[in-house]
């Protein structure tokens, strides 16, 4: 465990015309596009495009900024050369009104018909709730033409207890020719709200971005603030944070495995996994005082010490639970009927996973080895004994197996983290009263769905100029659309569950 503060971000400014080239070269040299967005600059100056590149070998972060030309809201799209940017550029258009000329499929990604034309909330000084009788934005679904092609529109409200989103299937017979996923129904104006919230008050707001990733978001926020302020976190706090993150991963993966078993129609394991998910939430409740582990991770450390008695009780349950999970998951993976149902369904080839920058279990199921915990050499993972999961086959089965492996790894990590007493150690560092001026901090976390990023950029007075959030789902929804193509309509629920994506985190 190291208590070094995180290395600073390398920050570079280029002319807007060089942006595509810089990003393409960076990605060719083994980096990935963590996020791409825009920000305001000083009074009256043009907006600035911002891209965060992550070096997959060294874990180094580089922020590339490119100011727009004065009086010109158009720049040349980078998507043709950097396909990972496709949704980011659409989002920049939705929120800042900047047009990426030459984008292959330019349309809104989060703000569609419910929103008026010409309303760009992150470019405005103080965005107002716009009137309802103003001209709505237009949205056209991709049309698949040909004899016998028909559409199935599904959502935004779905049949189960599921977040809202619209799926437009274009089908020929029972086969999906194209799936267009339209989200944004839950857009709550989060980034704008965070930017004007006093920074000390942000943590509980960050946790509410996507409550199923409370720990991931709290941690990404904390890391961003700690990088901004140059604060180092005590090693015991880093260990307790990692424990919370792994408990969140266990609970979420097990919950989704239960959903997967349910969608296969294999209700025994589904019921077992539902109970085991509750058991995992109980671990988090003992560690933090809340089932979703809220109000635990804060910039500077964690809020609650772990008593020796509690550590022993959690550790004992971790050991027993790991064995029980293994028995439960065997019911699924030893059952040829269940395995065959998942095999060769919803395949995402590694080349596409790479081009579109898929992250997390979905990326690792399709040959992308990237795992933030390892790639960024984050403490305490840098000194623990573990390896990221991996597979090449990219089908529903691979995504399920990756999740199973990751649950086992998380139990093992918890075992290592909780094997030594953590009492009498410092768990919180004091933060400065103000944020530094003209600075940047990025929190990158391997949340249970994959790479989650919070990016904070301050202005000349140390106020938040931009607070950007990138949920792993923002990368991976495209993976689901690819996986569904040429599959049967009846396979879609299974594909969907195997990705287990967030709508809230995506919609912001």
């Amino acid at each position: 465990m190291s208590d070094e503060s995180m290395p600073a971000i390398e920050r570079k400014t280029y002319p807007i015309d060089h942006l595509a080239n810089k990003l393409a070269t960076g990605i060719g040299a083994g980096r990935r596009l963590g996020l791409m967005t825009a920000r305001k600059s000083g009074d009256g100056d043009p907006l600035v495009l911002v891209a965060l590149l992550i070096d997959l070998v060294t874990g180094g972060l580089r922020l590339i900024e490119a100011p727009m030309r004065p009086g010109d809201n158009t720049y040349s799209s980078v998507t043709a050369r950097v396909p990972q940017a496709h949704w980011f550029e659409r989002s920049i258009r939705d929120f800042f009104g900047l047009t990426p000329a030459g984008h292959p499929r330019l349309k809104s990604v989060l703000l569609h018909e419910a929103w008026p034309q010409g309303f760009y909330p992150l470019a405005a000084t103080s965005p107002q709730a716009p009137l309802r009788d103003t001209q709505a934005r237009a949205y056209d679904f991709l049309q698949v033409k040909g004899e016998g092609v028909y559409e199935i529109p599904v959502g935004p409200i779905h049949a189960g207890i599921i977040e809202p989103g619209h799926f437009r299937f274009s089908c020929l017979g029972e086969t999906i020719q194209n799936l267009e996923i339209r989200l944004g129904y839950q857009h709550r104006g989060i980034e704008e709200r965070l930017q004007r919230t006093p920074w000390r008050r942000i943590p509980p707001f960050a946790e509410a971005i996507s409550g199923d990733t409370t720990v991931g978001n709290a941690l990404a926020h904390a890391l961003a603030i700690e990088q901004l302020t140059g604060v180092a976190v005590p090693p015991a706090a880093a260990a307790l944070r990692a424990a919370a993150l792994e408990i969140e991963r266990i609970a979420s993966h097990i919950g989704d495995l239960g959903g997967l078993a349910g969608d296969i129609g294999f209700l025994g394991p589904a019921a077992l996994f539902a109970r085991q998910r509750g058991r995992a939430l109980g671990l988090g409740e003992r560690l933090t005082g809340s089932r979703f582990q809220s109000a635990f991770i804060r910039p500077g450390g964690v809020t609650r010490p772990l008593s020796e008695e509690m550590r022993r009780s959690i550790l004992a349950d971790v050991i027993a639970f790991a064995a029980d999970f293994d028995e439960a998951r065997r019911l699924l993976t030893d059952e040829p009927g269940a395995v065959e149902r998942m095999e060769n369904v919803g395949v995402v080839r590694p080349s596409l996973a790479r081009d579109f920058g898929l992250v997390g279990p979905a990326g690792r199921a399709s040959g992308q080895g990237y795992d933030v915990r390892a790639a960024l050499r984050q403490p305490p993972y840098d000194v623990l004994d573990w390896t990221p999961a991996g597979s090449e086959t990219g089908d529903v089965l691979a995504r399920a197996m990756i999740r199973i492996q990751e649950v086992a790894t998380s139990f093992d990590l918890l075992h290592q983290l909780l094997s030594t007493p953590l009492v009498d150690f410092e768990i919180m560092t004091t933060l400065p009263d103000t944020l530094p001026a003209n600075a940047v901090g990025a929190g990158v976390v391997e949340a249970w769905r994959g790479e989650l990023i919070h990016l904070a950029i301050t202005d000349a007075n140390g106020g938040l100029l931009r607070y950007a959030v990138k949920d792993p789902s923002f990368n991976n929804w495209t993976g689901l659309a690819i996986a569904a193509r040429l599959e049967l309509v009846a396979d879609f629920p299974l594909c969907n569950k195997s990705f287990g994506l967030s709508y809230s985190g995506n919609d912001l």
């Binding site: 909330p121 935004p156 077992l272 409740e285």
Partner: protein, 251 residues
């Protein structure tokens, strides 16, 4: 098949015998107002990120649990013990104002609680999620083998046509307004609306922004309110049983 049955049997009975047990002592629960005298220092109101607490000049405390996101910022700052963790689980209410806890003396001519709605013995629920997925997960958990809403006739149904109650999670921002209204319109009378979680009740912490994420009641009047962020599955069952007029809700 045999192995699955053995595994299921090994777990024993998952559903606990006791209804609405207190949360364990290591759990935070929601804040509550105790009888301990308030010094009027105002630290809690200052610390609360969602303005859920009002303190009067003479130490009158009003804590609105419909605005509380359970961030734990207030109880730690209160040196008098006026604000403390509440581990009880019957915390839902049929009236919005009943979520506001105070240290004022009980009014003698308190209005009687409203009569429960027309839906007894069984409640079929259409859940609509609008941006609070932790609450969705806890609604799901309230039907799992541990909390087992099914034993009270509570079922989540796939169509508004089959539903008695519309349970809404999340703050219903601009783009979910129309889908929510359409779902409500598709339900047959009698029907009720239940706001599940602080975001649904008051829009916190996103209310007042450009996205109109101001809670269910900005769109539809609600008949029951379940606080928490997210509400514990027991809180959810309490709210649902209250709405059904079930004796277990009274405790």
């Amino acid at each position: 098949m045999i192995r699955t049955l053995i595994q299921l049997a090994k777990g024993g009975l998952a559903t606990p015998a006791e209804l609405f047990p207190d949360l364990p002592e290591y759990s935070r629960g929601l804040p509550m107002v105790t009888d301990a005298r308030c010094s009027g220092c105002g630290d809690c109101a200052e610390a609360c990120p969602t303005s859920a607490i009002r303190i009067g000049a003479a130490g009158e405390v009003a804590l609105d649990r419909g605005r509380c996101i359970a961030c734990d910022a207030c109880t730690g700052t209160c040196s008098t013990g006026t604000l403390a963790a509440d581990r009880r689980t019957r915390v839902a209410a049929l009236r919005r104002e009943d979520l506001v806890l105070t240290n004022a003396p009980k009014r003698i001519a308190d209005t009687p609680p409203p009569a429960p709605g027309p839906l007894r013995r069984s409640l079929h629920i259409r859940e609509v999620s609008t941006g609070d997925n932790a609450t969705d997960l806890e609604i799901g958990a309230s039907t799992n083998p541990i909390f087992d809403g099914g034993r009270f006739g509570i079922h989540v149904v796939a169509s508004p046509r089959h539903a008695d109650a519309l349970a809404v999670s999340g703050p219903v921002a601009r783009a979910m307004r129309e889908p929510l209204l359409r779902c409500y319109d598709a339900m047959a009378d009698p029907r009720i609306v239940i706001a599940v979680g602080a975001a649904a009740i008051s829009g916190v912490p996103w209310e007042g922004g450009y996205a109109d994420a101001n809670g269910v009641e900005a769109v539809l009047p609600a008949n029951a309110f379940i606080p928490g962020s997210p509400p514990h599955p027991w809180y959810i069952l309490h709210g649902l049983l209250l709405a059904m007029g079930h004796p277990a809700a009274r405790g």
